[in-house]
Structure formats: C-alpha cells, structure tokens
C-alpha cells in the first residue's frame, strides 16, 4: 500500500486530515506436550489502521489487504464520518516537541536457533515434571517470540516509528495427591532479552503454586484482614484502571469526576504511570496518537493528580494530552502503558507475620465478570492461604473476596516492598488490607 498516495487522494476527496497507523508483526510459537513439539506457528501480519477527519468528524477503517482499493477506503471513511452525531473536537496530531528513546540492548532472540528454543521449552517441561512427584501433568508449556514495528504517518507531517521485541515462556501444571481435587500452577515470563528466560525459575514458581494448593478448601465466611499478593493486586488495579481515564470521565462512568486535587486514597498510596521506564515490557516512547510519553503520578500520597487523557478527552476538558491514547480495535481510547502502585517497606513475609488471623490471596479469578468499574465494587472467586498466628496454615479455594476498590485503598494496613510489574501494563506490590468480606463455607 502506498501511504503517500492514500494521503494525497484523501486530501483531494475533501478529507481534512488523515493518519496511517501501520503495525507489522512477525511471531513464532512452540508448544511442548509430553516431551514433544505439539504445536508450532510461524505468523506474519501487516495491518493498516486509518483514521480520518471529514467535516470535523473522525472515523476509522482498518484493513490487511495490501491491494485494497484506496478510493473505496476513502469513501467508507467519509460515509462513517457522516454517521457521527457527537460534536467533539477531534485532532490528528502534528507532533510533540521532543521524543525520548527507550534505550534497550539487543534481545538476542535472533542469535538463538529454533532448535535451541525448542530445547528451552522442553527443558521447562522436564524440570517441572522432575521437581515434585505430585505434578501429574504439564498441560501448557509454550515458548513464544514476537517482533513488532509500528509506524504512524499522517497528513500533518508526523512520521514516527517504534519497534518492540520480546520472548515469552508460559507454563501450566496440574498437581494431585490423596486429597480430592487437582490443583493448578501457572507462570508466565515475558522477557525483553532471551537470557532472562530462566526455565528453572519458571518451573519452580508454577510447581510451588500447584503443590502448595493441594488440599485447598473454603474458609469460614467472615471479614478477614487480607493480603492481596502482588500479581493479584496488579490484576485488580488493571480491572479498575479505567476510573483514571479521560474516556471514563467523558462518558460519565467514573466515580472520580471533579476529584482532581482531592484526597481519594490513603496517604501511603502513590500510583505512577511510567511509560518511559525501560524495565517495563510495555514501555513506549509515544502513545498510539503519536504524543510523546512521559512519566507522571496519577495518585500521589493519596491525592488524585490527573486523569489519563488522549487528544480528544484533553480537548474536552481544556487540558493537554497526557500521552495516554491507546488503540482499542479501530478507535483510540484512553489507557495506561505502565501503571503501578509504588512499593512500601515491608516484605511479604513481614506482612504475613503481622497477622493473627487473615488471608493471603494470590489469585483473583473471574475479575472480568465480577467487577464493576463504575461503582468500584468487586466480588471475585479467589484462592490463597489461611494465615494463623503469623504463619500460613492451609490453602483455601472456592471463596469469594468482595470489596470496593476506592474504599479498600483507604483501608490499608501496610504496603509490601515486592513490586511486580505486569507484562500487560499494570503493576503492584502485595498490600495488606484491614478487612474484606469473604464468603466461603
């Protein structure tokens, strides 16, 4: 597809501004089952997402056919723009003054052959099986790597490019002993460098989880002090991050409207959006509208500092984009690239030791269904461990932990020091909450 030709044709057809967002991806995956390659894939894709402004309305068209008819695309963009009735100011971005680069060493994925990668994945499976006789099945063992190039070119002269490359090892194991129910362990490692994919570490983590959950049963229904472990806490933050977004503000579906500059959480809570942090897999130099990213506090010592805006929501609220434009399907919404709760001082072990009776929750399942980002209420099927006298007493499962995200962030006993940066853009340390209602037996 000739981008320049598309831009010129669109201009002639009365489109005032147009942007071409091109994403080129090559990926490979290898799945191991019982010591053999079970599935493997070699994929490549090249996708163009076009956004255009016609009569002050923005519409979008995405396509993959390199020989697509440009005139048809332009017609469809105009037709879609005509359907829009909302009178929001829209913009195709002319560019930021300065762009940071995210300096990264070569990930060394090319230096290793497919055979070595197959061997690495086989190694993970083998270690997992050898670590504990109660591991009865390795049901998921996958190596994956992906290389992605994104280009943003528009009629305002913007011409940006960013590249990303990463590798992933995923391991799922099932454990069983004389207790009635099998249990699961699951570990995902996303790495920017091939050498960071440590088969032993990944296997140990998944196996530990599966084995320590054996014999799990519900606990009594009541309100417990609850430690939500870092990974589970990161997924909880991920479930509620929409409340900080300009899009939610625009759609009146956030409880934080009008609360900028006010205290919404306890003093000890700081939530940062740090897209330039090169340690984060999801780090980005610019957002999906081409606005230069920068690090900022969303909540600082409990005070709500700013919504995360894209160009459109910023205009609506008379501010500037915070470089939080995120592509969601065909359109640009608002979201974060690396949002995390800052760590505290206590280790997870100290948090556990501080409880006479409580729960350590390391898995919140079904958050996508049991979570209401408008009211901030959630009820999630959970599993973890019952703590008695400062020690883990037994595993618990089939319980429901309920809460309200904003209320609980005002009911913190202590924040842990074990910050986990998730690969999908949210991170958190373990946090001990004073009391959350738990339904069990």
């Amino acid at each position: 597809m000739n981008v320049k030709e598309l831009i010129n044709k669109a201009k002639l057809a009365g489109i005032s501004d147009i942007e071409v967002y091109q994403s080129i991806t090559d990926s490979t995956s290898i799945s191991i089952f019982n010591g053999e390659v079970d599935k493997s894939t070699i994929n490549s894709s090249n996708v163009y997402s076009i956004r255009a402004i016609y009569n002050d309305k923005m519409s979008a068209y995405t396509f993959e056919n390199q020989e697509a008819n440009l005139d048809d695309i332009i017609e469809k963009l105009k037709e879609n723009a005509k359907a829009i009735t909302a009178t929001e100011e829209v913009e195709i971005f002319g560019g930021s003054e300065k762009y940071e680069t995210i300096e990264r060493e070569d990930g060394k994925f090319k230096e290793h052959t497919i055979a070595e990668k197959v061997a690495l994945a086989k190694e993970v499976e083998k270690i997992a099986k050898s670590l504990d006789t109660r591991i009865v099945l390795v049901n998921y063992c996958v190596y994956e790597e992906e290389k992605n190039t994104v280009k943003i070119i528009n009629s305002k002269g913007l011409d940006l490019e960013k590249k990303a490359e990463y590798g992933v090892l995923v391991l799922g194991v099932v454990s069983k002993d004389e207790t009635p129910n099998p249990q699961n362990g699951f570990e995902v490692k996303v790495a920017l460098n091939y050498d960071e994919l440590d088969p032993e570490k990944i296997a140990k983590e998944a196996v530990k989880q599966a084995v320590s959950m054996l014999g799990a049963a519900p606990c009594e229904s009541k309100t417990y002090p609850v430690i939500i472990e870092n990974k589970a806490m990161a997924s909880l933050l991920g479930g509620f991050d929409s409340i900080f977004t300009g899009e939610a503000l625009l759609n009146k579906v956030t409880p934080l409207a009008g609360k900028e500059g006010t205290k919404i959480m306890q003093d000890c809570v700081t939530i940062l959006d740090a897209p330039l942090d090169k340690a984060a897999v999801s780090a980005q130099p610019f957002d999906d509208e081409g606005v230069a990213c920068y690090n900022k506090a969303i909540v600082e010592n409990g005070v709500f500092k700013t919504f995360m805006h894209n160009l459109k929501t910023a205009k609506k609220f008379n501010t500037t984009s915070t470089a939080n434009g995120v592509k969601a399907g065909d359109r640009i919404t608002t979201g974060s690239y690396n949002l995390f709760i800052e760590k505290g001082e206590k280790t997870k072990e100290e948090l556990i030791a501080s409880l006479d009776e409580g729960l350590l929750i390391d898995d919140l399942s079904g958050l996508h269904a049991g979570l209401n980002p408008i009211s901030c209420d959630f009820s999630a099927q959970s599993s973890g461990y019952l703590i008695k006298n400062g020690k883990i007493e037994r595993p618990v499962t089939l319980i429901v932990v309920s809460g309200n995200f904003l209320k609980m962030m005002n009911d913190i006993e202590a924040i842990g020091s074990d910050l986990y940066l998730g690969y999908n853009g949210t991170g958190a340390p373990s946090i001990l909450f004073k009391g959350l209602p738990v339904s069990g037996k």
Binding site: A60, E64, A83, A86, G329, S379
Partner: protein, 465 residues
C-alpha cells in the same frame, strides 16, 4: 465472493504442505468486513470499519500441528509459507493423493437484510431507539451506552481430503448498557440482541423493550441492598442463566483440555455427572442463532450434540486434530475467532433441555434463597472445574416469594458438584448472547436454559448480616 483463493492454487499449496511427511493439510482463508458503531448519551461517537484478509495454513502429522498465516493470498506468498511450515515436519512424503472438489454447505443460517445492504442511517436509528428507551425509563438513569456490531465473514476451507468449501456468515449484535445512580451508588445493567443473520432480526425483536428492561434492572440494583455472602439455594432464571452450564461444565468437555488429560471430565463418558433431570445440548444447527453456523471452521457441518442425557455424560466437543488423539468422532465444533487462531473444539449454542417444573412452581417451592434473574459473565478453570460468575440482577426468595433486590452477588462452585445439585428445571427455555474467549480466540456463542434451581451454592457478597 466466490473462489477467494483459486482452487488450483489451493491444490498446489496443499501438496507442498504434504511434501515432507505431513498427513493432513488445510487452508483456511477469510475476507471479513466488520462495522462497529457506538453511542453514548444518544450521540453516535464512533463509526468504524475493519477489514480482515488473511489465510492460515495448517499441517498435521499425527497429533502434531504446524501452522502459520499471512495477509498475502498470492501463490508465491502461500507457497513460501507452506514451504516454511513443511520444513518443521520431519519425515518423507507419504504420497497422499487428493483432488480438490468444490462443495457447498447446508444453509442453516442466512441473512435476508445483509449488513452491506443496510445504510448507516438505519443502523444509527436502531441505536438511538435503544438509547432513548433506556434514558426515558427513569431520571435515575444517568448514562446509556449502546453499540452495534455487524460482520460479514466469507470463509474458504480447503484440505487434503479434497474438500474445497466456502461459506458466508453474518454476525450482528446490538448491545446496550444503562447506568443508574441513587444515593451515591452507580449500578449498570446490560443486554443484547444478536444472531448469525441479517438486520431482519430487528423486525422480530424489540430493541426498545430490551432497553427498558435494562434501565429497570439498573434502577432496581441502584436501590438494592448488598448481597450477604454464604451458602444458598439459588434459582437461576432462563436465557443468559445458561452461562452456568457453559462455565461450570461444557468448557471442561472441550477437547482442548480433555485431549491432554487436563479436564476434570476426562474418562467420564457413560458416567453420571449430573442429577437425573439434567439433559444438556450443544446445537450449532439452530436457525439463525448467534452461535449457529452452516459449517464449522474445518468445513464440517455443525451438529446437535447431546452432551449429557438424563445425568449421564454422552459426548465431548471434538475437532479433527483432537479426534486423532481422543479416538472420538468429530462433533462439528471446530471454531476460531479468525484466521489468526488455530481452530479447536468450541461451543455453539449450549443449553439445558426444558424440564417438567414451571418458573412459578420453582419459586413457590423455595423457602429461602437467591433468585438470580440476570447473570453476568464468568470463567472456569477446566483442570479443577472451579468456576465463578456474577449475578447482575438478584432478588431474595423468602417463603416462596420473590422479595427484596440484592446486588453484588457472585456464584462460585465446582462443576462436578453443581450439576449434581440441580433439583428443579422449568419449561421456559430461552437464550442469551455472549462472546466466549478461549484457546482459539473470542467467538459468538449462545448460552441458554429454562429456569433452574441449584442447592448449596457458595454465594459471595459484600453485605453483612
């Protein structure tokens, strides 16, 4: 569109795939146009079009699978992909001979008013109707969001059995959600109308009536008390209530986990897994329904599969590759979100068959319990069978009567237990439309059931006694 990739090109590519010892090869190609529209507060905010154009090639050798995709349909590009993939197969050409022959699928689903024949104005009018009806229901409705998605998917499946078959699918769905606020509490309710059909569906189904219902539910829930957690008798209403069967049981019957020995349902064919009154069916042949298909993504006709009959496990859901591992017949259940996903066994329209009770008799016979009128989504872990789902609209049942509304209830349990604990099933089978996410992506599936009653369920909630 016909002959998306020429039959001769397919023949050459498939032959190339088998040149290194593969025993089965397949091309799946699609050309899909999807339009999305979203409305917030009665204003159309987004209108976009997404065009997918891709071909996936798959080679099997025994149970081993090698696959890949490209956006380029040229002979050169497809041959290159076939060559790259076949290099991963170790062995000698098995000399498999086949000649592609064009077939046509049965016509179960069709679109009278295909999306491409309906103007943007007509589509926006439907969204306006949905938004207006919800907004006008009550002043407490503070926000209404409505979205419309329509998709025309043209697919081609060609394989080394000589199959060369093309089909058209027309998925469309209008979804609306209403937010109600009362006393600082904001609650949402949502529902949708959809099918594998054309816009004629809106001649039969009333968008405004659906919107009014969700507005009513959101307002009711904004006034509701928080659910008090504990163990309850739960009456789950018809239609979307079928998500219980979907999550608690049928995901564990998919070959994806059964073939690896990773499902709690492994080795249970012929055994009692549910109470005697339970019969469960997955039926991809229901006329124009959201989860229905003329053919599955391996080009095989969809079936009506009886999974559980009078409590006894009768069948798993099995695709071609897993049928080789499991020694179980294929069930016309192979599905993929699009060419980017490798196909595997998935659900279509899954439901409990009607029983002998009625809605009224179930409520009247329940001394104390939770009436889950509208279910939200949920999830399951197939290797433990543990599931969860949200109750979007709930009421208490006291002395055989539906009393006060309750919000924030979540149901959890293990699939093996819950099916045994179903003790009443009504006669009012209906369906709800969902998107099911699993190994081969997100696909349209219907869940369905008549009203059922389940004993001893763990219910989570934030309320206190």
């Amino acid at each position: 569109m016909k002959n998306m990739i020429d039959i001769k090109i397919c023949q050459s590519v498939l032959e190339k795939c088998l040149s290194t010892g593969g025993d089965f090869a397949e091309i799946f190609a699609e050309e899909t146009t999807k339009n999305s529209y979203s409305m917030v507060s009665g204003e159309l905010k987004n209108a976009s079009t997404n065009n997918l154009h891709g071909a996936s090639i798959r080679i099997l050798k025994g149970a081993k699978e090698i696959s890949g995709y490209t956006n380029d349909f040229s002979l050169e590009s497809l041959m290159k992909l076939a060559e790259n993939l076949s290099e991963s197969v170790e062995g000698e050409n098995l000399g498999i001979k086949f000649t592609l022959k064009e077939e046509k699928p049965a016509k179960i689903v069709k679109a009278v008013k295909a999306p491409s024949k309906v103007s943007n104005e007509e589509k926006v009018a439907l969204l306006t109707k949905a938004s207006k009806a919800a907004k006008e229901y009550s002043e407490e409705v503070v926000q209404v969001m409505a979205s419309l998605m329509d998709e025309e998917q043209h697919v081609l499946v060609a394989n080394s059995f000589g199959k060369y078959i093309e089909d058209d699918r027309h998925h469309l769905r209008l979804a609306a959600s209403a937010v109600a606020a009362f006393n600082g509490s904001m609650q949402t309710a949502n529902d949708s109308i959809g099918g594998n059909c054309g816009y004629e569906i809106f001649d039969e189904k009333d968008v405004a009536a659906m919107s009014k219902e969700i507005a009513k539910a959101a307002v009711t829930m904004a006034h509701a008390d928080e659910m008090v957690g504990g163990v309850y008798t739960v009456v789950i209403d018809n239609a979307f209530g079928g998500v219980l069967l979907h999550e608690a049981c049928v995901h564990s019957l998919e070959a994806t986990s059964v073939a690896k020995g990773a499902s709690v349902m492994c080795g249970k064919l012929g055994q009692k897994i549910a109470s005697d009154i339970v019969t469960a069916i997955d039926d991809g042949t229901r006329c124009d329904q959201w989860g229905s298909l003329n053919m599955d993504d391996e080009g095989n006709p969809t079936h009506k599969n009886v999974l559980i009959e009078n409590g006894i496990l009768k069948s798993y859901l099995v695709d071609y590759r897993n049928s080789r591992i499991m020694n179980h017949p294929i069930t016309g259940s192979s599905r993929r979100q699009n060419y980017r996903y490798s196909p595997t066994s998935r659900m279509t329209n899954t439901f409990f068959a009607p029983g002998k009770d009625t809605f009224d008799s179930i409520i009247a016979n329940t001394k104390f319990g939770l009436y889950a009128k509208k279910m939200g989504g949920g999830s399951v872990n197939p290797s433990t069978g543990e599931f969860n789902f949200a109750v979007n609209e709930g009421y208490m049942i006291e002395d055989g009567k539906i009393t006060k509304p309750v919000r924030g209830a979540t149901l959890v349990g293990s699939g093996s237990q819950v099916l045994l604990n179903i003790d009443m099933i009504a006669d009012n089978l209906d369906f709800g439309h969902g998107m099911c996410g699993s190994a081969s992506g997100s696909i349209p599936t219907d869940v369905g059931q008549p009203t059922i009653r389940v004993q001893n369920m763990v219910v989570g909630g934030r309320g206190s006694k």
